[in-house]
């Protein structure tokens, strides 16, 4: 037997600690605000100096590193049921998003209105969020 410590055997998330959930949610919200803000600044033409516009465009990408680190840490510290919920949500996000996008491309080739790639990409986080809610609902 490899380990005898419960914290090592089970994943080690202290019970009732919603602090990490809040941190991850805050990072997600922060990134979304960052992305939307950068998009607005660039589209509105507020920044005319090109190097500064590049910096503005890079801000969401840099912020996403913090978000990914926080999410990875969350997964590492979550217990096995929480990980299962996250895994199923990822299945919804990536799998569902991929199949919806592929499906819509067929309709688009038949004359359905073209949709911006950013809109199509937004389907994945929406489905991921749906997967999380469905998971918490199922295991509530």
């Amino acid at each position: 037997m490899a380990s005898t410590e419960p914290e090592q055997a089970c994943g080690g998330s202290p019970p009732g600690s919603s602090r990490r959930d809040i941190i991850v949610a805050a990072y997600c919200l922060g990134w979304a605000l960052c992305f939307t803000g950068a998009m607005q600044v660039i589209k509105s033409g507020l920044v005319t100096h090109r190097p500064i516009a590049w910096v503005v465009a890079a801000v969401p990408s840099i912020a996403s590193i913090w978000m990914l680190v926080a999410y990875t840490r969350y997964l590492r510290e979550a217990d096995e049921l929480q990980r299962l919920i996250q895994l199923q949500a990822m299945g919804w996000g990536f799998g569902g998003g991929f199949f919806l996008i592929c499906g819509y491309l067929l309709f688009e080739s038949l004359g359905a209105p073209a949709v911006e790639p950013a809109t199509l990409a937004a389907i994945m986080p929406v489905l991921f969020a749906f997967g999380i809610i469905a998971g918490w609902w199922r295991y509530r």
Partner: protein, 66 residues
């Protein structure tokens, strides 16, 4: 899979939160294992057995075998 978590917990007068704390998992996990909606991994099952000081087979039983 059936289990005696509720009985064992009641014998010790432990809340779900207390058991979750002992196992270092979320209260949600303890509740879902108890209801049978979620089957624990082998390491977690061993941890539960260790916390209650009983062999795994006295805590968890195969429901289909009954």
């Amino acid at each position: 899979m059936r289990n005696r978590l509720k009985v064992l917990r009641a014998e010790r007068n432990w809340t779900q939160s207390r058991l979750a704390q002992e196992l270092r998992v979320s209260r949600l996990s303890v509740n879902e294992i108890r209801t049978g909606k979620y089957g624990p991994s082998l390491p977690l099952a061993f941890a539960i057995a260790r916390v209650f000081g009983q062999p795994i087979e006295t805590i968890f039983t195969d429901g289909s075998a009954d």
